[in-house]
Subunit: 343 residues, 2 copies
Amino acid sequence: MSDDNDRTRPRRASGSARLTDVARVAGVAPMTVSRALNRPELVTESTRQKVQKAVLETGYVPNRVAGALATSRSGLVALLVPTVAHALFAEVVQAVMGELTPRGYQVMLGLVGYTPAQEEAVIETVLSRRPDAIVLTGCRHSPLTRERLTRAQVPLVEIWDMSDDPLDMLIGFSHPAVGLAVAEHLLARGYRRFGVITADDSRAARRVEGFMAGIGEIAGSECLVREVGTPSSMPWGREKGAELLDSAPLDAIVCSSDILALGVIAEAQSRGLAIPDELAIMGFGDSSYAGASFPALSTVRIDGAAIGRAAATHLLSRLGQSGFSRSGDILDVGFTLIDRDTT
Amino acid sequence: MSDDNDRTRPRRASGSARLTDVARVAGVAPMTVSRALNRPELVTESTRQKVQKAVLETGYVPNRVAGALATSRSGLVALLVPTVAHALFAEVVQAVMGELTPRGYQVMLGLVGYTPAQEEAVIETVLSRRPDAIVLTGCRHSPLTRERLTRAQVPLVEIWDMSDDPLDMLIGFSHPAVGLAVAEHLLARGYRRFGVITADDSRAARRVEGFMAGIGEIAGSECLVREVGTPSSMPWGREKGAELLDSAPLDAIVCSSDILALGVIAEAQSRGLAIPDELAIMGFGDSSYAGASFPALSTVRIDGAAIGRAAATHLLSRLGQSGFSRSGDILDVGFTLIDRDTT
DNA sequence: CTTCAAAATGATTGCGCTATCATTCGGTGA
DNA sequence: TCACCGAATGATAGCGCAATCATTTTGAAG
């Protein structure tokens, strides 16, 4: 029987080159290779070149897993958004990555959906990667999530919402204020009988609350609400728009996203309703296509890229520091009501 | 001077609980805790409960960085797309994550843009994380990238393109075939004088080549091309559309994305051109809003979600296996030409 | 040609976990 | 009752790297 190499079977699976291999080829100590690669200013030009040559020769690719363990800095930033299938959040992802990638950080993307349970699960696995920082959409979390995040002692930005008591940093806007602004806009135009189509999403719900509060102040105004599942889509908008229009005479329909509003436009057109005279329609998000619909959609613009950039910038300024201490910074980037041709 | 604790300063920064801490609290060996958490079937019910209790008590969160180093399995899948600010790729991301997250894999997102240089840079840093698998958009890579990926010996799916010689697995569609199909469709409708607006993107360029080849077969057809920068946008479409319409009389304008096509529609409408009688317009991607424009946009539908799901599924089947061996599987998911009201 | 501080390099150790043994425990049949 | 076997648990070592300190080399001044 062949028990010759049974004893000291090496554990490493990947045959790829290690720091040690490079060091041997370069004829220097492993530590010198490490320095040549990570802090070249500490190394003579000539050794740097020897190492460089050895790296090419061996095809060495540093193992950041090992590096992360040794330094307890993972170089990973967790970015948690409900979805990327929504232009608004895609914009945020794009902006955050645009800032972080050039600084050597990599982004671990997590989709938390719109339910606390999913958020909890994602947060747990994300924390097990020991990210250097976290960007988290929303600021209404389950107590367990709050506790885990607090314990983790990691720089954190909550985005896309507003609160008085952020876990750490907060960059976003007030959803009730959006609803209120929409209400004021539509009331000023003389609309009184409203329909609302909203996704099953707590932030959308708070926009609706703000809207209701706004119209509640004018006697004679009324409002019917329909909820749709996620993801929002044109067919959902059209279906629920039809339901609303069949239920009661309406002056305006407010939607929790532009894509729903497009569905309502389609339904209104199919019924021969004049927009906005017989039916006004309001979206949310100012997606790239909002100005291209016919008629052009009135909506609320959120600058997702600005939120993403600000989040990344604030985190980066914290990542330089050594110890962790809660920041408490709050930045309200606001929103813009864009009045096009549907209101 | 206080040199009392200078000597053996502990290296660990984070004060968070380790496996050892849990073991001490539970009164078992660290290895038993590891087993209780990762392979509970190897452990008595009673110890499992002791460990569970100790985990809660200590607030232990496993350190997957250390775990990855010990097992040389990172649990990370790298997902490299040009951008997420484009609905098509966002759909892919969403689908891939939808399959992988429930299986315990986390996604490291990389944006490679549309230039080989950026791809190279991203690939290098990505490989340093030792991902268990890679999903990579496109299959035209620089020699350096190809070599690095080959050496990495990691299950890999190239998506969103077609080739005879994939690095490992390939799931996508043929871009020239898309161009050809569009040409045939438009020629059949009687259009002969074409304009093309295309992003500066090699895959779009190959669609254009296919298109040119298609119209080249019909005598008397001609074609003017205008290129736009990334990201594509409505204003780009409108501007280049105007340029084209000013340059020569055209029957149809073909765009490398739906959003450009919307810009062309806007320009055509502003000039009072009847669509499609005086100007036909063709998009690409069948974005959610394509059917909502007025007139509804003719376009080419790509099922990004199907590609993403297939990619994830194929990778998962490989991740079970032990050794690495190149697969060579190729899957062409095709595309659908959607004939709406602009052609 | 020394001397000495600063710069460059090297040796050692540990980050937190799990693979891989070795050991102990509990139950079974003679 | 005791040897025996598989199941459960424990001890040890190492994954690949960088922090830290020890040692060597360099170069400027005397």
